[in-house]
């Protein structure tokens, strides 16, 4: 099992009160793998069901955002490697 990595960047260094703030989080873990399991049921007569696909993620990552000034950050998108959060200054 490998350790995850993360980066965090804001769209500005200084904000005026009320201004929208955008935080972009890049994250990854070498162990994180999407997998797809395909299931086909076959009876003794040789009849097969249509295949059913199930997806899963091995070692998925949880992302937490904390702000020491108590500002609330809301996730607006997450691709699995890049998450974008918004707050109001």
């Amino acid at each position: 099992m490998a350790a995850p990595t993360v980066t965090a960047s804001l769209d500005a260094s200084t904000y005026a009160p009320g201004e929208p703030m955008t935080l972009t989080v890049g994250y990854a873990d070498p162990d994180t793998r999407p997998v797809t399991v395909t299931i086909v049921l076959t009876d003794p007569d040789g009849n097969s069901s249509a295949p059913v696909r199930v997806t899963a993620v091995i070692d998925p990552l949880g992302v937490e955002v904390a702000d020491d000034s108590g500002r609330a950050w809301t996730m607006v998108s997450d691709t699995g490697t890049t998450a974008v959060y918004r707050a109001v200054a």
């Binding site: 995850p4 769209d11 005026a16 994250y27």
Partner: protein
């Protein structure tokens, strides 16, 4: 400084964290100047105008609030922050003489201004009190008079010493028959302005008083020469002026020009100081639609203030000279709209 921390955690409990710091700053103050130091009260009504540039000669008997300018007192009490440009320049024509006056029971005699500035060939060179005169203490009475009046004003102001040192020195100066180059004039001005700041600070100023050194900001070397760290440690703001006088000038490029020189050339004390734009304007001959250019200013300032370097905290539109709003109603409407927009809003 607030900090946002991001933590990722995998299923085995291994974590990684990253943090980003940010600062919260108050809105940029939009401000104004009306030609001839005139009463701008009517123009300011209904707009988010937070600052006002005014020009005063230390030679004048009425520095604060200015002769017949009771409206400045009213605006100041209403929360409009004055940027008072104090000049050694004598505004009168001809050869002004010595003056004797009494301040708080002390009689002062100040000799005639002995320097010429703005020595552009083919023009009449204005007179000013000389940097040598200041350093010799000959202008202390002028400072005492201004300070005494300022103490009765009732609110603090930014004291911008000189309007534009680069404009004053561009063609050299002459004091008591001795000529000085641009660079020599800059060095002498730094000494004299240091004297003025120290003199005023030593005598007790109204709480909230701040200082800046006046510069047009059009010459990189002069800007560097007039902003040494020793003087910057005695003042509170950087200052320069911004004009769009060519169709190729964008708001971002014009507000950025002197800022970029400052970031590259000045020391850490200077760069710790926020910036007052005492004058900004767009020339109608270059931009017939002044309002369209004005509308681009908020985004330009927001972008610059997001960059590393000193933060622009005030920007006062110069409705005079190059910046004259023509037609005035459209220009004023654009200014009001801009000052209602972040980072001003």
């Amino acid at each position: 400084m607030p900090r946002v921390t991001v933590t990722v955690r995998d299923q085995g409990g291994r974590t990684a964290s990253a943090a980003a710091d940010y600062a919260l700053a108050p809105p940029v103050w939009g401000g104004y100047y009306l030609a001839g130091n005139a009463d701008p009260t009517t123009d300011l009504v209904g707009g988010n105008f937070r600052s006002l540039t005014q020009y005063r000669s230390l030679a004048d008997a009425y520095v604060f609030p200015g002769y017949g300018m009771s409206w400045l007192r009213d605006l100041g009490r209403a929360g409009v922050a004055p940027n008072m440009v104090l000049e050694l320049k004598h505004y009168g024509a001809g050869s002004p003489g010595a003056q004797t006056f009494t301040v708080d029971g002390v009689t002062w005699t100040v000799p005639a201004p002995a320097m010429t500035i703005q020595q552009r060939p083919g023009t009449t060179w204005p007179r000013a009190y000389g940097y040598g005169q200041v350093l010799a203490g000959q202008c202390d009475g002028l400072l005492a008079r201004a300070l005494s009046q300022y103490r009765t004003l009732g609110f603090p102001v930014n004291l911008q010493l000189a309007s534009e040192l680069d404009t004053d020195h561009e063609f050299g100066t002459t004091e008591s028959g001795v000529s000085f180059t641009w660079a020599e004039s800059d060095a002498r001005a730094v000494q004299a302005l240091t004297y003025v700041v120290n003199w005023l600070r030593a005598r007790g100023l109204p709480a909230g008083t701040t200082f800046s050194v006046g510069a047009g900001g059009f010459d990189r070397a002069a800007f560097r020469r007039t902003h040494p760290e020793a003087l910057m440690s005695r003042v509170d703001f950087l200052q320069w002026n911004v004009y769009a006088t060519d169709p190729a000038h964008t708001a971002l490029s014009r507000f950025r020009r002197t800022r970029d020189w400052a970031v590259a050339d000045l020391g850490p004390v200077a760069l710790s100081r926020p910036v007052i734009i005492a004058e900004w304007g767009v020339q109608v001959s270059a931009f017939p639609d002044q309002a369209a250019w004005i509308a681009t200013v908020p985004a330009a300032l927001a972008r610059l203030n997001a960059e590393r370097g000193p933060r622009i905290v005030r920007a006062n539109y110069f409705n005079s000279g190059w910046g004259t709003l023509t037609p005035k109603p459209a220009g004023l409407a654009a200014l009001r709209a801009a000052y209602a927009t972040r980072p001003f809003g």
